[in-house]
Amino acid sequence: MTGAAAMSRELHIVGFQVGRETYGVPITSLHEIVRVPEITAVPDAPEYMEGVINLRGKIVSVIDLRKRLGEKKIGSSRRNRILVVEHKGRLSGLIVDSASEVLKIPAADVEASPTSFDEGRSNCVTGLGKYKGRLIVLLDMTRLLDLGIIQKSGPHSGAGEARRAASAQ
């Protein structure tokens, strides 16, 4: 089987952990993944807005995705990473608990997200992927970031909804 043919049937997903869940975004939507450097906090910013970092001479704002997704317990460890994504021509960083694997999920193993998700405030879940018995919540980065700008993080979170949906299955 050629690479191109394989590509068409498999989704290349970068998996990352926030809390107990594994999320995934298409590898193409990621700019890079970096370790967490020193973050300069910005005054007067929303809670989830962690600050700015120096990414090789570029100043990039960093959002704590764990706060965005409503994680209650936010610890920090050496495994924390920043996913750098390009959004509307600018780079943004998202802090996650850890990110390591590139998952190849067959397109057939991806289910559309339940319609009830659309009613939720986030609407950034594009589907649920099954990978070796695990459930990967596939996210749309662009929508997530749009949301991050417009809304303040509330008590109801995308992660909570995802978990609820996952346990219902």
Partner: protein, 705 residues
């Protein structure tokens, strides 16, 4: 209507919009000059040339309505006798306004709503002098489409010119009294045919349209003068224009083709050959267009960004150099390294300055709009005002320049309508009847200062106070405590206007608060100085560029911030116990002066341990007064390359930008304007300060260890 939009046409239109702004400015300038020296032939001609150029350019860009209107106006200017030139200036102003309105309508691709109205206005303006002048010369040239030669005609013209022939575009205006325009056209064609090869005729020979004008494209070895004299058939032809058609460097740009040729205008009735100045003007234009480049400002920004990165690179290298020096103090390489770095630093400095200069334009570009604004406003207010400009050659970033145009115009209009008194009042006060308004610009440290001063009545602090209390901007009790300056500064508060009634000129709801807001957005400030009876001075301070500043770095709650060094007057040391609380303000007594303090971090607990804590107070000059900034520690003094924080996720105005230090750390640059603003409003509302206090990225720092 306008042709369908294609790529090239779009480019042409953009060029048109840009060049026409210049032309409109020239039109305004000339009209002003004409108003001052009525009857100056030279100026009238210059105006006519400008309108003619606009006509040609507009036609080339496909804006037929504008071209036709320009034509009508051009005709009016042609006919106008010199003695009527006062109204000519009026026409000039009206034309500039109308053109401007039409162009912005084209630009926004909006409808051209006003054209009918303004056309009528212009026609009224043009018909009046016509009536006044002799009826026999009454103008009746109908609006016509701009000349376009077919590709074949243009091509043959170019071929013939290459062969050494001269190619002219002759326009003959047929006398309105001539009863047979079609025959007249034939007559002209015949007259020319014996001297020149006719390449094209408009209208086509044989066409029966009632057009009192004929356009001929001819190739000849004769001079244009001879051709003109051939065309001048008494009682048949009224005027002849002969224009060099195309020419090297012109044929490729249709806009220039329409614009550049200056008509060797010949009036049969006046028998007088026009404008020796015209070719000179033309030559100047063509030489500058060779060395001028139109570059997208985005590209310059890119280069500037890269230079910024280089400077960061330089400081990285310097840090390494220092460490190297400390580690190997005896190494001969050390001297060579520092030599190389010094050289690099010098070149970088030059590079940075050169790149920044690209973006800089003289303030002249902004100031030149003001004579017209002042004239109009003064006329509407029925006041006499002269305008004095100085410091026009001061450079400023183009972006900033464009941004302050509106605020500045507002201040100027304000000064004339409210500041300067009527002639009668002035005489009573013992001042010259004519009010004086001054616009001045100069550099101070790394700021540009623009001053607008008038010799009017000044701001009446009492009146401001009463009004402020009345509209509820401040309470009566507050007003008693305020200093004179503080009261005067109230005019910058939203919803405030000292004008008793709303006038057409100012007080249209757009107040000085908007001016201040714009300035704050540009990281600048606006100050007001006033002397009752002798005048008012507005001082706008702007950063010269948004690119590089010398800054003082300090820490608040272990977080690093920077402020421009030139705002820091002095640094004082104090203990927490030295601070006093007055009302909602913390103050420090510094050599007998009471300094209001701004605590950016957390307010410490009131126990003995904390009260002995040493702090630094940065005494800053801002908005014409001193403030103290409480900081925990001083870090260093550095040259910072400012990077904009135009990320939508960072919406705060407390920070004006960020910079990267040599060791890679990010430092935020505080926007003092916004910080002071927050403190003054929060002090009024009684909200405790502590703006820069907040959660730290502590956990992240731990994670790295």
């Amino acid at each position: 209507m306008t042709q369908p939009f294609d790529e090239r046409g779009k480019e042409l239109r953009e060029l048109f919009f840009e060049t026409t702004q210049e032309l409109l400015q020239t039109l305004n300038d000339d009209s002003l000059k004409l108003e001052q020296s009525p009857g100056n032939q030279e100026i009238v001609r210059s105006i006519r040339r400008t309108v003619h150029t606009i006509k040609g350019d507009a036609a080339a860009a496909g804006f037929r309505e504008l071209s036709e209107l320009a034509h009508t106006i051009e005709d009016a200017l042609t006919l106008e006798s010199v003695s009527k030139s006062v109204s000519l200036a009026e026409i000039g102003f009206a034309a500039a306004d109308v053109f401007g309105a039409m162009i912005s309508a084209y630009q926004t691709e909006g409808a051209l709503p006003e054209t009918a109205v303004v056309k009528a206005l212009v026609q009224k303006l043009t018909s009046e002098p016509n009536k006044a002048s002799q009826a026999t010369t009454k103008e009746s040239v109908p609006g016509r489409a701009e000349m376009t030669w077919t590709e074949y005609e243009t091509l043959s013209a170019e071929t013939l010119r290459a062969e050494g022939k001269k190619v002219f575009h002759i326009v003959a205006h047929i006398d309105p009294l001539c009863a047979m325009p079609i025959a007249a056209r034939q007559l002209v064609t015949n007259a020319i045919a014996s001297f020149a090869q006719i390449l094209g005729v408009r209208p086509e020979s044989g066409a029966s349209v009632e057009v009192r004008r004929i356009d001929l494209l001819v190739a000849t070895s004769q001079s244009d003068k001879l051709l003109i004299s051939r065309c001048e058939i008494p009682t048949v032809i009224k005027a002849v224009e002969c224009v060099d058609f195309g020419g090297p460097g012109q044929k490729n740009t249709p806009a220039a083709q329409g614009a550049a040729p200056q008509p060797a205008h010949h009036d049969v009735s006046e028998r007088h050959v026009v404008a020796p100045q015209a070719p000179k003007h033309d030559a100047a234009r063509s030489t500058t267009s060779d060395t001028l480049l139109r570059v997208d400002s985005e590209r310059i920004d890119n280069v500037l960004n890269l230079v910024g990165e280089l400077i960061i690179g330089k400081s990285m290298l310097q840090q390494v150099g220092q460490e190297f020096g400390a580690r190997f103090p005896k190494d001969p390489l050390r001297a060579r390294l520092s030599d190389a770095m010094a050289f690099q630093a010098r070149v970088l400095n030059d590079l940075q300055r050169s790149v920044m200069k690209i973006r800089m334009v003289p303030v002249e570009q902004l100031f030149r709009r003001f004579p017209r604004i002042v004239r109009d406003t003064a006329q509407r207010c029925g006041k006499e005002v002269i305008l004095e400009l100085s410091g026009q050659d001061t450079d400023l970033d183009k972006v900033l320049l464009d941004a302050i145009a509106e605020p500045l115009a507002h201040i100027v209009r304000n000064a004339i309508s409210h500041g300067i008194e009527s002639a009668a009042q002035r005489t009573t006060a013992g001042k010259p009847a004519t009010g004086k308004l001054m616009l001045n610009a100069y550099h101070q440290a790394n700021q540009l200062i623009v001053e607008v001063s008038d010799d009017g009545s000044g701001v009446d602090a009492e009146k401001v106070k009463v009004k402020a209390v009345k509209v509820g901007v401040i309470s009566a009790a507050e007003s008693e405590r305020m200093t004179q300056q503080e009261i005067v500064d109230l005019v910058f508060r939203p919803g405030f206007s000292t004008a008793d009634e709303v006038t057409e000129v100012s007080g249209r709801g757009v107040g000085l608060d908007v001016v201040r807001e714009v300035l704050h957005r540009l990281k600048g400030t606006v100050e007001l100085e006033t002397d009752r009876g002798t005048g008012t001075k507005f001082r706008l301070r702007l950063p010269l560029t948004l690119a590089i500043i010398k800054a003082l770095l300090f820490r608040i709650e272990s977080r690093l911030y920077a402020i421009p060094l030139n705002t820091v007057a002095e640094i004082a040391r104090a203990r927490e116990s030295d601070l006093h609380r007055v009302d909602t303000w913390e103050v420090l007594q510094l050599r007998g002066e009471v300094l209001p303090l701004m605590r950016l971090g957390e307010t410490p607990a009131e126990d003995t341990k904390h009260s002995q804590k040493k702090i630094f107070v940065l005494v800053i000059n801002f908005g014409g007064r001193k403030w103290g900034l409480i900081v925990d520690a001083l870090e260093s003094e550095e040259e910072l390359v400012i990077k904009a924080l135009d990320d939508q996720t960072i919406a705060t105005d407390l920070v004006s930008g960020a910079s990267i230090l040599g060791d890679g750390r990010v430092v935020l640059i505080m926007n003092l304007g916004a910080v002071v603003g927050r403190f003054t409003t929060s002090a009024r509302d009684g909200v405790p300060a502590g703006l820069f206090h907040g959660r730290t990225a502590q956990n992240m720092t731990e994670a790295r260890q």
